[in-house]
Amino acid sequence: MSVDVLAQPRSVAWLSRANPLAKLGAAMVLTVALLLTVDWVSASVALACELAILPLAGLSLRLLLVRGWPILAAALAGAYGSALLAPKTGAVLLEWGPFLFTEGSVESGVAIALRGLAIGLPGIIVLASTDPTDLADALAQKLRLPHRFVLGALAAMRLVGLLVAEWQTLGMARRARGVGSNTGVFGRIVASLGQAMALLVQAIRRASRLAVTMEAKGFGAGPRTWARESTYSRIDVWVFGAGVLVSAAALAAAVVLGTWNPVF
């Protein structure tokens, strides 16, 4: 029984029909736009638009929290740090020993958090609605990246999923040998390091067997054809257009409302 974390059922959401490159392009435009300014208006506009797009990627808010909580946690930590360290302008909101928060510092903290979320969310949307195989096809066929590299990475990705189950099995196999009997923090660290080493050995051995399989199937020896053709369709125009539109709207809103705060 294998726990293959990467072999989730293929997404059937509308966005999954778009070419991965169109989605990546849209996310990239948005990221660049948001990197230009640190203010809460542009970040809020972008974030609101992204949340509105979620259903098209087949994501519910709950699923988003499950997958995206590290980004949320990082954004909150960033907000706290900025509010603590940003220039103390405006009225004092809270002062307790060395902790001093003012209106100005809290505003920049909020802006940093919203911007972090607005930049991180497109990544989650693209990942959730893109099959790794489709991405590899697009990278090799449309971007003309070397197919040896792209398909090698794709095959390796599948093995990464198997490592989770392998780690579990190794843990049990080593307990059956008595590894980890030495209690205490140091003993446990040594046991975990040993297990990580064993996992690495197994991963390399499996990878070299897989390499023989791929070579025996004629991989990497010459020009190849593609059974799955990576194509652009009208959806891709919509997807990329939406990325540009949201970016423009976010920046325009910041300029109009006077919060434009360029980084450079």
């Binding site: 195989t133 599948r158 999923g161 080593r174 040998r177 064993a198 004629g218 190849r224």
Partner: protein, 518 residues
């Protein structure tokens, strides 16, 4: 379908061919002269170290990347050096997990054809025909990770078939499979060969699986000095098996109709109760408060006495290994309980899962299916000393085990460099070094040659008579027959499942035997 899939079968010619892997003192194959006619079906036999896999890999053109190695003589496919005959040969290996490249089965089958630059319009019809030929009728976007071992091997075969090779090379394709998987894969291979007319070369220990299906058996001699090298015997299956029966079974080959002699059990009386399971459910998942684990098997009752054997059988996915791990104190019970009786617990907790590592190994020893998972040091001797050192005991048992399992000459070798049979013997020896009262083994005889098999069965029979309890997950009917004891069959409707209180008698007596029947 037969006409559309037909290929031009390949001819193989070897003249004085030899191969020496880099850093090895001797040639793996030496002085090989061999002709295989187009469309012939050949079973390749030989003792371990005879270079059977090396020959298959050379024919498949995957030996070339090793620049330090040296090649002698010539090895041709249709008159072209094998390394240059791209796409003419398809190779299938032993490990089902190393067979699959991509995550959807349709893409995986198409992979080889894509690499050979087959026009895309022809690939999908080929994929459909190949999946049909191996009997894998699943949607093209089915996950390739969610397949059984036999299905993965058939998927690999379909991928080879879609390349339309004239030569099919199978390197122990059924060694890691249960009996149902063995027949599944063999039938898929024979069906494929019948449909395409391709030449077939198969390496396998279990002669009975292929003897009726091949035209010819070729026995290779090891390439070491003093062993002659080249072809030892060559002819129709019946002739070769008649001529070389003794020699082949001495070399560990499973000859049809011959079960290697093993030490018989001398006492069958059970001792005191060691371990019991009561209404047990087992699962690899950790249950959480709101999402209890989905059990792999449930309603299991076991009472294990000293000096008795228990064989766990059942179809793929019935939870046999999960049960073994739970009884071995490696997984917590998902429901119900596993209880160590006082003679086993000796003051420790009742639940084996709560024991510390050093408490566990001197009470219950578990031998995993894959020996490599359990190697924790850099040499055979260190492996054997590991448990006694943990328990603060002397190492007198170590030398005894080294000798008993014929590992003395390998004492300084790295465990990962051993052969399959040696790895299996070592993994059993390392667990025995702690002298556990209960031994749990997961498919201990998978892929083993007849010699290792007999040694293992004899050793366990000896341990049983001396009072050790043995639990084994196994499909091997002869093996369970040697050990005796009870059988627990999982995966049946509840009313037909056998609780320990009403065990199925005479383990394996009614099971289909692949080896015994010719």
């Amino acid at each position: 379908m037969a006409t559309s899939q037909h290929v031009v079968p390949a001819a193989v010619t070897a003249r004085g061919w030899g191969w020496q892997h880099s850093g090895r003192p001797h040639q793996a194959v030496r002085g090989l002269d061999l002709d295989i006619a187009p469309g012939e079906r050949v079973l390749l036999l030989g003792p371990s170290g005879a270079g059977k896999s090396t020959l298959l890999h050379a024919l498949a053109g995957v030996l070339g990347s090793d620049e330090e190695a040296s090649e002698f003589g010539s090895l041709l496919i249709d008159g072209v050096p094998a390394a240059a005959a791209r796409g003419r040969a398809g190779l299938m290996q032993q490990d089902p997990d190393a067979q699959v490249v991509l995550s959807r089965i349709g893409d995986d089958v198409a992979f080889g054809a894509e690499n050979l630059a087959v026009p895309p319009s022809q690939i999908w019809p080929r994929v459909a025909a190949a999946l049909d030929a191996v009997g894998l009728r699943l949607p093209l976007d089915h996950s390739s990770s969610a397949l059984s071992g036999g299905q993965k091997q058939r998927l690999g075969l379909a991928g080879i078939l879609a390349m339309r090779p004239g030569l099919l090379l199978l390197d122990e394709p059924t060694a890691n499979l249960d009996p149902a998987g063995v027949l599944e894969v063999r039938d898929a291979v024979l069906n494929t060969v019948a449909e395409t007319g391709a030449t077939l070369v198969v390496v396998e220990h279990r002669v009975a699986v292929w003897a009726d299906a091949v035209d010819r058996i070729v026995v290779l001699a090891p390439g070491r000095p003093g062993e002659g090298g080249g072809v030892l015997l060559d002819g129709p299956p019946a002739t070769v098996l008649a001529q070389a029966r003794e020699m082949l079974s001495a070399a560990g080959v499973w000859v049809p109709g011959h079960v290697p002699p093993t030490r018989p059990r001398t006492n069958s009386g059970g001792g005191e109760l060691l371990l019991s399971a009561d209404d047990l459910a087992v699962s690899r998942q950790r249950g959480r408060r709101r999402h209890p684990a989905v059990p792999a098997a449930s309603n299991i009752d076991v009472a294990l006495q000293a000096g008795t054997a228990l064989s766990i059988t059942g179809p793929n996915g019935a939870g046999k290994s999960t049960l073994a791990l739970t009884l071995g104190g490696l997984l917590p019970a998902a429901a119900g309980s596993v209880l160590a009786a006082e003679p086993l617990a000796r003051g420790a907790a009742k639940d084996p899962y709560r024991w510390k590592g050093n408490q566990l190994i001197e009470r219950i020893g578990t031998v995993f299916q894959e020996p490599e998972h359990q190697f924790v040091t850099g040499s055979v001797l260190e492996e054997l000393r590991f448990a006694p050192k943990l328990l603060g005991r002397g190492g007198d048992r170590v030398d005894e085990l080294l000798a008993r399992l014929r590992l003395e000459h390998l004492a300084d070798a790295n465990p990962f460099t051993l052969s399959g049979g040696e790895k299996r013997r070592l993994s059993v020896a390392t667990v025995l070094a702690a002298s556990p009262q209960i031994l749990v083994l997961d498919e201990p005889t998978f892929g083993q040659d007849a010699n290792t098999w007999a040694e293992l069965a004899s050793l366990l029979s000896e341990l049983l008579d001396a009072g050790t309890a043995v639990v084994s997950v196994t499909h091997d009917a002869e093996f369970t027959q040697v050990l005796g004891g009870n059988r627990l069959e999982l995966g049946l409707p509840i009313e037909a499942a056998a609780p320990a209180s009403a065990p199925v008698p005479a383990a394996g007596a009614d099971a289909q035997s692949l080896r015994g029947a010719a």
